[in-house]
Symmetry: none
Amino acid sequence: MTTPSAAPQRRSPAGPKAEQRVRDILRVGREVFAERGYERATTTEIAQRLAISEATVFTYFRGKRELCMRVIQDWYDEIIAAIESGLPRQASVREQLEFIVLTHLRLFLIQGTGLCALVLSEGRKDAGHGAGDLGEGFVELQRRYTAPLMELLARGQQAGEVRQDIPLRLLRSLVFGPMEHMLWEAVITGRQLDVEASARDLVALLWPALQAPDEELQRLRRLRAQLHDALSSA
Amino acid sequence: MTTPSAAPQRRSPAGPKAEQRVRDILRVGREVFAERGYERATTTEIAQRLAISEATVFTYFRGKRELCMRVIQDWYDEIIAAIESGLPRQASVREQLEFIVLTHLRLFLIQGTGLCALVLSEGRKDAGHGAGDLGEGFVELQRRYTAPLMELLARGQQAGEVRQDIPLRLLRSLVFGPMEHMLWEAVITGRQLDVEASARDLVALLWPALQAPDEELQRLRRLRAQLHDALSSA
Amino acid sequence: MTTPSAAPQRRSPAGPKAEQRVRDILRVGREVFAERGYERATTTEIAQRLAISEATVFTYFRGKRELCMRVIQDWYDEIIAAIESGLPRQASVREQLEFIVLTHLRLFLIQGTGLCALVLSEGRKDAGHGAGDLGEGFVELQRRYTAPLMELLARGQQAGEVRQDIPLRLLRSLVFGPMEHMLWEAVITGRQLDVEASARDLVALLWPALQAPDEELQRLRRLRAQLHDALSSA
Amino acid sequence: MTTPSAAPQRRSPAGPKAEQRVRDILRVGREVFAERGYERATTTEIAQRLAISEATVFTYFRGKRELCMRVIQDWYDEIIAAIESGLPRQASVREQLEFIVLTHLRLFLIQGTGLCALVLSEGRKDAGHGAGDLGEGFVELQRRYTAPLMELLARGQQAGEVRQDIPLRLLRSLVFGPMEHMLWEAVITGRQLDVEASARDLVALLWPALQAPDEELQRLRRLRAQLHDALSSA
DNA sequence: CATGAATGAGACTTCATTCAT
DNA sequence: AATGAATGAAGTCTCATTCAT
């Protein structure tokens, strides 16, 4: 979808054919960056896969870094669009949450694990080890990227379905964190992931944690714990 | 006829001064790899920071890759040791969980976020984009690294304190996932993280999810009733 | 999931100017490898002699080894072509032999002694001490290289002009061996070699050995030897 | 055997233990140089095989080059000694020739192919590609090395058993050339070589070539006729 | 516009050699 | 006498990037 029109690329030629070129390069660039990561991806390989000259890549993009930025932006845009357009806003909060989780897992797995890694590895200002300046407009992208979930959680809180005593930020980590961890695991171990089952399981697991703690339940659990301790020390 | 003969291998010195050198290089290597990631880290920089010749680095380590491996191993060893030695095995499952989470957050933040990224980015077989062969003995390290948590969760399951209807693997993602996500967030945004508060909050948030849902309440109520009866008849 | 994807390979350009470059590099590469041998030849020197950047060399050849391989191949091709095209197939076996010897000596001496050494030193599978893998397609080159002589000898055998009681392999050594030895000697001592005279002499020397041993001659020689012995002991 | 006492090595310590050290290093140095060639041989490997420090090698030899020189010298000395001491000076020229050829083949094959290559590749002044200055006293070594054969051929010429119309130098090439060619072939192809059979065959093949051609037959017949006459009138 | 061609800068790595102990 | 330790110098190779055509 439309990126919020960043600074106009001086290099980019205009015209319909040019736009197709840009799209091609972005498409293949995404592949290569996803497969190899920022450092190991080469402009050479991108050009070769398109059967164009290396120099042509530089006709449309100021450099490797810029291309990578655009690749990541495009990818973000797609995810954001997929979620924003598909979100069943009429359904229950839980169902919407499941949609979000499922969509993420799906998009990540289709071609995204590499890009996910790319973003995680390269996409930050200068802390950690990354492409450095690569992440200039990143905070904003991150914000928009997590916006649907944040809004959903906020709505849930207002409806009393989501606990209000925990900062949203932490709740977000609670949702995205395990998701990414599962993805990494899938990538590392090479095991296939049943996306739908995983999404269902994960939400089932998270749901109780997102809800207001039932006071009676808490008290009872404390009681049980005390008994346990008492027994073991008797 | 000429003997075939294997390739000769340069071995690292073994004296007492040598050990110090190895430690120094590992220390600085850790810094540099953490700051820059595998690809951007250079042996030149490591040597410069130690004010030694680049060749000296290669006297003690066979190559960049091996050095990086050792750096990661050392780091894993530290975390594993810190957790294994400090874990309050007498305390409740929940307290032990809190210890594990807290220790992880702390060690990661002290100097570890970069290393965490390093491991995540480079430490996998060949899937995703990584240093490839770098992660040969990595599966084992990962296993030992997550072992304390896994054992704790298993004990919790046996004691009835942790739900048994979810595979341990998923529970592990539920714990490590948000932790890592929080760390990434801290790194990306550059915001400081109150480690102890975060650990407490996170565990508070996770705890309900780790416990049996639904019928738990029923069982607890039965338990309370039985206690009531027992007490009144005692 | 991320595609496995093969390693990308830089390909050498293919334009008309590129071909000239390739020829230039091969020409100078031949010089340098011939002068210095494989190990002592440096890509730096090759580049410098051409007044081009070292990187340019690697634009056209994957590496030092490949360049060297190509140099040797080209040289072989030249020799093979020179012999195949110039061989006076109508002339007598002896004249053809002289042509082969002469052509070899000439080509070797023009610029070839170094290359001869290069091939002898580096061009073998892994036996002896050599560049090892350098000689992959070498056996074939060797075969083609010695083919004209082999065929000539075979024809000579059929025509009854060359003795048939000795394996061709040994006859080949008998021809090439002294030739190479003479060349080495010329190189080592630095003495000039009168190529044509040497070729003539050598063939004159070899020719009797290549022919069927005349029985009477043999018997007479034995007689003379016996006389000699008898005289000296009398 | 005793080298004609070259310039005294400043570095070499004296004493019986030192002499043993020198012998050890020369022994292992010979192995390594033979296996790897000059460039690929490393002082590291030589030291490692002896389980001594690399620095120790430099205590006894001024450098890699000098060590290599000494290795080659020693080897020459051995061959020269073997031939000079074993040569059956009473036997016929042909038998002596066979002894020389056989001894060469044998010594070369035992451990010498590598060294042979070393000498051929590295042992020349500066022509060809070699260790350059490595061959300072080489011409002399070469002379002594080929001396037995040269003398034998000269004696043969005087006795009328070896043709006199060809310079000795060329005859030498005729003997050593095929020998070395056969050895190379054996090394390259890895095929085993039946040393004794090869020596016999080769000499059988060479012998006619070493003898006078053409009119020889005439002379021999005259000789036979004269003998006939002499006998009948005696 | 596309590209063929070239390259500067820099990476990792090897090894003979030195020197204080 | 022996060596542990260190290193200068050099080599091969990679890649993003530029520029004339």
